[in-house]
Symmetry: C2
Subunit: 345 residues, 2 copies
């Protein structure tokens, strides 16, 4: 869509003013913000044309204009200039991580909280995906004569644990054969390789040990499954109230929607293919509950591989110019932290 320079200037100003004030923008109040040597009537004509193009709309006939989804989209794609993440903000972000959290789950949770505080939006973050990660180590720690805690650690530093209960005494020799099996069949394997087929052939090949070891081995497999799954975490829910106090009762619906991790997970993974930062505005979102919200998501990479996402959810009239860079900055930082921590030299 081609717009005259003047139309662009007007559209941009309306979007920004509306983002700032939340009030529909009228031709006069727009002029007082913008130094243009034209009259309000001229602006009105332009606004009428922008409306006809579907970029602006009116809540009712005698009100000012607000941007439509397409209006925001045009703004984000063509008009907006990303603000720099300024020094003080950077410091706040970095301070938010405090001293070396190295558990990735905790780190990502914290990242969500930091982002939520910073942006005043709800924030989502996912733990690093286990795709491509392999099993680095497995331990069996006896906690009783017949029970042991199985601990699995992946190459991405994720640690999962679970108690396994056997019908037999877990004496030294049993543990030894357990470690043998683990060493032969699990350590170094990709998490995704540990599936039911693999387990079946493993069990078939085990012979006599199978009864004593089965519960332990099963636990290892369970943990591997768990570690592949990315977990979705949500923070800053209270911020939604802040925004949606206008929107009436949708706040509850939105919060309720965000509680369910599964749709969120889809949202994050579908987003941001290829692009640096993905912005979905209002009805561009695939879920009814997000029709009035915008979602800004970015991926973090560990060692150059995309491993997870961090994003924020806010009203469509969100401060794109400032927040998109913020999300990007935080995401990159998280990627760096994780890469550094788990770099294999």
């Amino acid at each position: 869509m081609e717009l005259s320079e003047r139309k662009q200037k007007i559209l941009g100003a309306i979007v920004e003013l509306y983002i700032k004030t939340g009030e529909p923008v009228g031709s006069k109040s727009l002029l007082s913000e913008l130094d243009m040597s034209v009259s309000s009537a001229t602006v009105r004509n332009e606004m009428a044309e922008l409306s006809a193009l579907g970029l602006l709309e009116q809540p009712h006939t005698s009100a000012g204009r607000i941007p439509t989804n397409d209006g925001y989209r045009y703004y984000v794609d063509n008009l907006m200039v990303n603000r720099q993440v300024d020094e003080s903000l950077r410091r706040r972000i970095e301070a938010g991580f405090g001293s070396g959290i190295s558990d990735p789950e905790k780190l990502l949770e914290r990242a969500g909280e930091v982002l939520a505080d910073l942006t005043g939006c709800a924030a989502v973050s996912t733990t690093p995906s286990g795709e491509g990660a392999y099993i680095r180590r497995v331990e069996a720690v006896p906690v009783g004569t017949k029970t042991a805690m199985i601990v699995l650690m992946t190459s991405t530093g994720v640690i999962k644990s679970k108690v396994a209960r056997s019908d037999f005494d877990l004496n030294a020799s049993v543990l030894e054969s357990f470690y043998n099996v683990v060493k032969a069949s699990f350590v170094g394997k990709l998490l995704s390789e540990v599936d039911t087929a693999m387990m079946q052939t493993l069990v078939a090949s085990m012979g006599g040990d199978v009864f004593t070891l089965l519960p332990l081995i099963t636990a290892v497999s369970d943990l591997a499954q768990e570690a592949v799954h990315t977990e979705v975490m949500l923070g800053g829910q209270s911020n939604i109230l802040h925004h949606n106090s206008y929107y009436g009762n949708t706040a509850y619906e939105l919060l309720e929607f965000l509680r369910r991790g599964e749709p969120l997970s889809k949202l994050l993974s579908s987003a941001t293919e290829g692009k640096d930062v993905d912005v979905k505005i209002g009805s561009e979102n695939p879920y009814r509950q997000l029709m009035k919200s915008s979602v800004i998501v970015s991926n973090y990479n560990i060692d150059g591989n995309r491993r997870g996402s961090i994003g924020i959810i806010g009203p469509t009239r969100i401060d794109y110019a400032n927040l998109i860079p913020s999300v990007k900055y935080l995401t990159d930082l998280v990627g760096e932290l994780l890469t550094q921590t788990f770099k294999e030299e």
Copy 2:
């Protein structure tokens, strides 16, 4: 405070009716619920007296009565009969835990979610306190030539991990001396014994190894600190909206308050000394933000020792008779699950 039998009956009925409907209870509507052979005027007189005693109040002169905090308190202490947790509810609770989550942190988080869903309130839960727990095992897993992931497991099944970075190569002999130190000075120790004093004497006694081992040992100590700390988790925030849509704007304030773990933690630990289930009503709570809320908290025990708490936060007009037993039931269940899992036979 002594009340005539009739006053008790009236107060109880008002509390229950108000809890059910949320509307101030008038003398007539009360009579239609209650089969008493007196007139509304008599009831009015009684109500006036209950008001004078500070058990009832009126939102405005010409409205029905609602219970005051003291009114609720009297009801909970003297009038209420705990409902049984019925079969279907038990099943829902037990189903909520699915198949063997044995990571205590995850289990408690899940418990909070289950409780929130069940009660329609926000729920808080704490991870098992490390007080009295000892260090069961420590592992150092190399992730690079100079970095290792330190994993610590406690007797209560809590697992904490952290990456330690050294200036020296972590070769086999370094790891061996690390394990020696760990075996001698950490394994079997109470978490609370690992403090700065203990660390200082340890470092002093270490001699030449100190430079290579210090980062690793420090990490162990950090993890022990972390493991003593109970973590507070919050679930079901969206439910607060549900209730507080009446209350005006307090919902945001409340949510914002609940985000901060620290006051919550105090709340939980101060509560429920000795008692089975602790109920704090409105202004009985030590925080301004909770003045209009009630908190129902109960402890769970592992092996007979109090280890943490689970509770719900709702409006003062919460269904005490049903929810108090529910909280109790869930708490006991969690205690049992954790006890079973980590029982040392």
